[in-house]
Symmetry: C2
Subunit: 333 residues, 2 copies
């Protein structure tokens, strides 16, 4: 038997913890090509919410499903020759203590500890920041990089990677406290509280040479405001639209596509899997920067499977600082 | 003395012919680095209207200016060693019978007749279609290309070039008559009347394999509708936003940037000058296609400088079929 989190009902507007419920269920034996994994960590991502809106880059999740999510855990029993009991793995899983995974959706992890790094800097968050900024944004030293949701799981790495690459890093985040933390603790050149009501003016002051790359995690009005300050041939790395996921009546930036034409911008969407062939380089670069202190790893770990729904709801409201994950069980020995 | 068209007042909303006036003015002698050109043809472009909204890729035009425009004409007197009387030239000019041009903004034209081809298929319209589709869209044979304002100056070439490159070409235009003309005369595989009220459904029927490249001349709701049917890794060539130029309260596509992320789209703006290094290839390819009948040249020539304002107003309302230009004087002998 193991505990699991069920989607009780799909949200129509704002997601709440009441859209989920906890249940006990028997754990089946893995079939051929399947692996039984004991979950250690569940990655909590804004994308989890997007999956509830309908088909995205993957099929939608449905009411009655055990909630889908990205997990790191230990193999208990394997029905696939590629994995054996005791292997540390990551991949597509569920919000559950024990998960039957398709072997094709799993990857073995190195012995690196703490394993939480596999969810943060060396996992989806760090790789998303790296591939989006490096592979899509194509930054040149001296350019100005702006990132929204800058104190979030991906944002903290975007800014720090930008600095490591010789760019000016400017973050947009919610609240003066987060902003101070970005500049004082994480080395951002400037940070702007979008709730301050003066984003346009503060952005202008923080980016005297305009914006060359905007790493967009939010869409909506913030995207609209940054677009006005993009430089010619600027690049908008489209990573997320978190401002829109809970919206019942989404709004589009009113200066699109006008400014894309006028400024010859490139707006490009990506997901981390598009750059799998660059993963080894990403991990090597990120590990190096962590080692020499250029990239600080900030993790926001919520304890207990039962708190996963609240952890996601909080993430969508911007409650996290750094990569949010849920600890379901301690690191394996 | 020569006639010229003045911007009487900048439009706040819809542009009308009354925003312009006609006057006679003495023609000065060209200074050093300047050339006096007798205008034969003026290109009428949606971009002319955008220049009145503010600075774009060039400075804004102002009330009191002789209206700016792209012209083809004959050199009468030259103050620059690169040009001599009798040369046929194209470049930045004015809506006037005689124009003092900066020599740096002019290019000599080959002896090709009719010279109207230098404004249509071998000029900005044809090159814009070519560079946008080929250089930004990167089409592969078998892909589906959708173009809006398909019966317009650029659109007619986008569809025909798409066909020449082995793609499926689908046009969006205003009115059943234009649509029939696109399929029957210009070889589009399908054409959809956006005024029919069923764009989404008709687009779906016309693009059974989805849309790989959308060449967007209009922005707004049509862009929003096409985005829903883009394929993964699709490309949106952002060429114009004519639906927004006359709008006092522009609207943004509500599915931006969401769908750019989900479908990993690339939206990229360009202007024809960005691809100057590819102009020779564009002209060679286009000339070849015209010669072998794969690309038909359709021109919409309005006679008389005094009709230039109405020609632009009509263009913005979609009255043209093919490249619109104003003939100020007959082709030189």
């Amino acid at each position: 038997m193991g505990r699991q989190v069920i989607i009780q009902e799909l949200p129509k507007g704002e997601l709440t913890a009441e859209h989920f419920s906890l249940q006990d269920a028997p754990t089946p034996a893995p079939g051929e090509g399947e692996v039984l994994v004991r979950t250690c960590l569940i990655s909590i991502d804004a994308a989890n919410r997007a999956w509830m809106q309908g088909a995205t880059y993957r099929e939608a999740v449905k009411a009655g499903d055990v909630m889908h999510g990205y997990i790191v855990g230990e193999v208990i029993r394997s029905g696939d020759p590629a994995f054996k009991a005791g292997d540390l793995v990551e991949g597509e899983g569920r919000w559950a203590e024990e998960v039957i995974c398709s072997a094709r959706g799993l990857q073995k992890l190195p012995a690196h500890r703490p394993i939480s790094h596999q969810v943060s800097v060396l996992g989806i968050a760090g790789k998303t920041a790296y591939h989006g900024l490096v592979g899509v944004g194509l930054p040149k030293p001296g350019e100005t990089v702006v990132v929204s949701a800058a104190a979030g799981s991906v944002g903290i790495f975007v800014g720090q990677i930008a600095k490591a690459l010789g760019c000016r890093a400017v973050g947009i985040a919610g609240g003066a406290e987060k902003c101070a933390w970005l500049t004082e603790e994480l080395g951002f050149d400037a940070a702007i509280d979008y709730r301050g009501g003066n984003l346009f003016r503060e952005l202008k002051a923080a980016c005297p040479d305009g914006v060359d790359i905007y790493f967009d995690n939010v869409g909506g009005e913030i995207l609209e405001t940054v677009l006005f300050q993009m430089n010619m041939k600027g690049r908008v790395v489209c990573c997320g639209a978190v401002s829109q996921y809970n919206a019942t009546a989404p709004t589009g930036p009113r200066n699109l596509p006008g400014l894309v034409v006028v400024k010859r911008l490139r707006m490009e969407g990506f997901i981390v899997m598009d750059f799998e062939d660059q993963d080894a380089k990403a991990v090597a670069d990120l590990s190096g920067w962590v080692k020499d202190g250029q990239v600080k790893v900030v993790e926001d770990i919520v304890e207990g499977l039962e708190n996963a729904p609240a952890a996601l709801v909080g993430l969508l409201a911007g409650a996290n600082r750094g990569k949010r994950m849920v600890r379901v069980a301690p690191d394996p020995a």
